[in-house]
Symmetry: C2
Subunit: 144 residues, 2 copies
Amino acid sequence: MTTDIHGTVDQQLRRSRQRYTQGRRQLVDLLVGAGRPVTIPELLDLGARQSQSSIYRNLAILEQAGAVRRLTSTDDTGRFELAEELSEHHHHLVCSECGGIEDITLPDEVEEALHEAVTTAQRDRDFAVDAHHLELVGTCGDCG
Amino acid sequence: MTTDIHGTVDQQLRRSRQRYTQGRRQLVDLLVGAGRPVTIPELLDLGARQSQSSIYRNLAILEQAGAVRRLTSTDDTGRFELAEELSEHHHHLVCSECGGIEDITLPDEVEEALHEAVTTAQRDRDFAVDAHHLELVGTCGDCG
DNA sequence: CTCCGTGCAAACTTTTTGCAACGGG
DNA sequence: CCCGTTGCAAAAAGTTTGCACGGAG
């Protein structure tokens, strides 16, 4: 079976003293279905049955609870994806033309090299690294 | 000698049929001096002698010419840095508390592994990668 | 019955644009 | 002179908030 996403989100929300409402559940479903970071307009297009302001509020709550991550791309509208705790560790292909983002995973050996580099990096700095994330910037198929 | 940044920017702007005005030169100087991505308010604090709207316009022109890169962090105000063509290839430590960003460079062997991974990644996808950029997300010294 | 969550509309923040004045080439 | 650049103020885009209603526990 795949990990029980809704169960995990429910726990995360409880920890934040928040409820797993219909609206929040639906946003999680939409994010799972998208498989890439999406914008608020995209969520509405995908059939989110709630007002724009509720989407913002619910995503903010989900983000605080650790279920969702907010990104920005080259265009300037926020994009949202499931937190890594709920999805696979991955990175992003970012199109500098349209701002679109696709997910990508890297070979294990590269991840290992990265992890090692991260460990070394924080030894030299007064900075506690929680996560790493690689952006490959270029032009997507649609824009190319 | 260090590379002649102003000469290079001048050429880049000419290629875009734009002039290297006082204001643009000053922005480049401020970015060089900062040594990390800065926001518009920070540029004003650092003594930019031009209106906010001119800063936006000039940074947009410099970005189009390839001299400046625009980023966003966890807070939601744009941040600007010199393009890699004018600076050393580097990556970023991003503070999830305050949104601040610091520059960091990686060991050559990691860069090589990354470069190889990038090459492989784009072979499998309809996506032309121009550049890569690693974000190490965590908590900076001030916030920790 | 009590709260929390929601939609709507208004407020706010950041960024972009219109317009008239300025200034370097 | 002339055209690009600037500052100011207004507009636009994205996001957040106030408020009153409605629904879940």
